[in-house]
Symmetry: C2
Subunit: 389 residues, 2 copies
């Protein structure tokens, strides 16, 4: 399998840095599968960049806040084999702006916690992330800005339908994900308590906090502030580049910790100045993306609330969880602070708080600490997977 640099392919820029960094930005070079839909073409969301992935047809899917996604398709990939007992499946959920590719490349591996030799690992792209049915790839009047608002709970219902129908799986050995992936993980554990045996929400909460939601809304406003966004009626994401760069600037401030920026840790990723890092890393990450897709995911993020399962009572909803849960915040995360994660952990019966130490802040999820980060993740996940339930 030929490997090329993911970032380089997106941006035309070569990235230096250590092996773990290279790994972080390495994508397998594969292609040939057609994209889910056809209307507005954005080459970023393609098999060439994020594949290989398959599509599972859910069919028409009504979402909780009104509206129906026509011909909902979930983009997914699997690693390993489902055993006869069908009890070795692990589900991985994706974060805001992300796809399954990053986890495939960086969180999975032989001998690691998420080991395809031992587990049947299912990675499903959340609705609206650009690979599964999303505003930009949905044709007709129900696409782009008019794509229905989706909730975390809609995602989890669709994923549940897929996993139970397609493979007949009745239990998940583990559900895990970071950030919005953690929000899906929480929803899975509380919504399907008998099915989820273990759960590991990393750097994410069951209920989005007011500050976190307010941050997410500033991202929306950044995109909207670009006149070319035009209420979502643009012909190319490139037109909305100014808005996407504004979003990227906000992520720089809030995504990384003050100390990480102060110590200029971006130098280890191969950047020569904060401006260079902003332009060629942060901007480069966001400007290929579709603004309507991001708008859709941000709407979902702002409203994540497992408490809805119990009429708004978060304690009651988390109290229903039967899974063994490791709550894994990142020590310097300002978007999903340890205190918020710890508060939810205390409400969860069979749970432990496992803080991941990192200087990087929320975006430590991108593995910029390399081995030091992944070793902690693996250590906790191995212990969790070995725990009897």
């Amino acid at each position: 399998m030929a490997k090329t640099f993911f970032w380089e392919r997106c941006t035309g820029r070569k990235i230096s840095g250590n092996l773990s960094t290279a790994l972080l930005i390495t994508a397998l070079s594969l292609g040939g599968v057609v994209s889910a839909h056809a209307e507005y073409k954005n080459d970023y969301y393609s098999q060439a960049v994020h594949g290989p992935y398959q599509l599972y047809k859910i069919g028409d899917f009504s979402v909780e806040d009104g509206g129906t996604i026509r011909d909902l398709q979930l983009a997914y990939t699997t690693h390993g084999k489902l055993n006869k007992a069908k009890d070795n499946a692990i589900l991985i959920c994706t974060w805001y702006s992300g796809t399954t590719k990053f986890w495939e490349q960086n969180y999975l591996g032989k001998g690691r916690a998420l080991d395809p030799d031992k587990y049947f690992i299912i990675l499903i792209n959340q609705i609206g992330n650009g690979l599964s049915s999303s505003p930009h790839n949905t044709p007709g009047a129900g696409g782009m800005a008019k794509f229905p608002h989706v909730r975390i709970s809609d995602d989890v219902r669709a994923q549940h339908k897929m996993i139970t129908e397609k493979w007949g799986i009745k239990e998940l050995a583990l559900v895990v994900g970071g950030s919005m992936g953690a929000e899906q993980t929480w929803e899975w554990a509380a919504r399907y308590p008998d099915m989820v045996k273990r759960a590991a929400p990393i750097a994410g909460t069951a209920r989005t906090t007011p500050q976190c939601a307010a941050f997410s809304r500033t991202l929306d406003e950044a995109r909207r502030s670009d006149p070319s966004f035009n209420e979502g009626n643009y012909t190319s994401n490139t037109d909305v580049q100014t808005g996407l760069r504004r979003e990227a600037a906000l992520w720089t401030v809030f995504g990384w910790s003050p100390e990480w920026l102060k110590q200029e840790k971006w130098r280890a990723l191969g950047f020569s100045s904060i401006e260079d890092f902003q332009t060629n890393f942060m901007d480069a990450y966001f400007i290929p993306m579709d603004p309507n897709d991001l708008m859709n995911n941000a709407w979902k993020w702002q409203r994540a609330d497992v408490g809805r399962l119990a009429g708004g009572d978060l304690a009651a909803a988390l109290g229903r969880i039967k899974a063994k849960v490791f709550v894994m915040p990142i020590s310097t995360d300002h978007l999903f602070p340890v205190a918020d994660c710890a508060a939810e952990q205390k409400l969860t019966p069979n749970s432990e708080l496992r803080v991941i130490n990192s200087l990087a802040g929320h975006l430590g999820l991108f593995g910029v600490d390399g081995k030091a980060y992944y070793d902690q993740v693996d250590l906790h996940l191995k212990e969790l997977l070995n725990a009897s339930v």
Copy 2:
């Protein structure tokens, strides 16, 4: 003296809340003094709202980054009397978007640390804050967007000129300020080590950190993103209201701590929802302001660096300080984190770290904790003022 509600006068909205909150937003009703300049009229920057204040004429003033402010005037006010030895003067410096009014109303008082019965208290508005010479009140070609870039060091040089010329003061018993006022405090202590006997930078650093500067740049981009900003060529701040509201939204996310927002502490200020708080507190605070003035102050903030006094060597510059210094970060401040303040304190010879405990984050400076906050400030400042130097 008739008292009216400052916020109410600005916004037409009555604010409820406890006495300390009322105090926070109370302005003395005075007027009659003309504003510094005349070109673009903004009633917010007036004697009626922020007075009484006087103007000191510095004359033409060349700034470090090039350009000359014509007829620089500093708006100031004093409380108490200068003694014969001229050794009881305290200087208070202002923060971003702020004027001296807030400190006059909330940080000073008989029997408190900053006691006008004991000290001659001088409050000087920083250049570009809307009362002193600023983009919006400077007539002609050198005003508005073309007003010179100003550095913290320019402010401190101008303040020094004023204080030494006008009163013949050769020593300051204390220099104190919050946020950008702290940045001026640091500059004073390092630039004029023989003159400054004590210094108390509250919630601010000697050198703006990369994250803090990046945040400040997102505020610039928020204003610029409004087409009506038009590169600073607007005829009224009201035209740029959308940009100013975007700025206010960013301050909500970064200014308050996640926990303060989660606990809905804004309810105690009389707001019924986060949207109500955003519109009628945060937006109401920023939309009367002048975008070019804010742009000017933000430029200054982004570049604060006492290290420039020693060729970029911060340790060397702070090592020059002779004042007794209490470094006073706010425990939950994410813009000027305790760690950053503590690092500078360690570089300062005769200094101590005095953390102010507050749930509010950086904007705890606005005294939303009431007595619990001001008592801590007073306790530390009294001890500092009583320390022999």
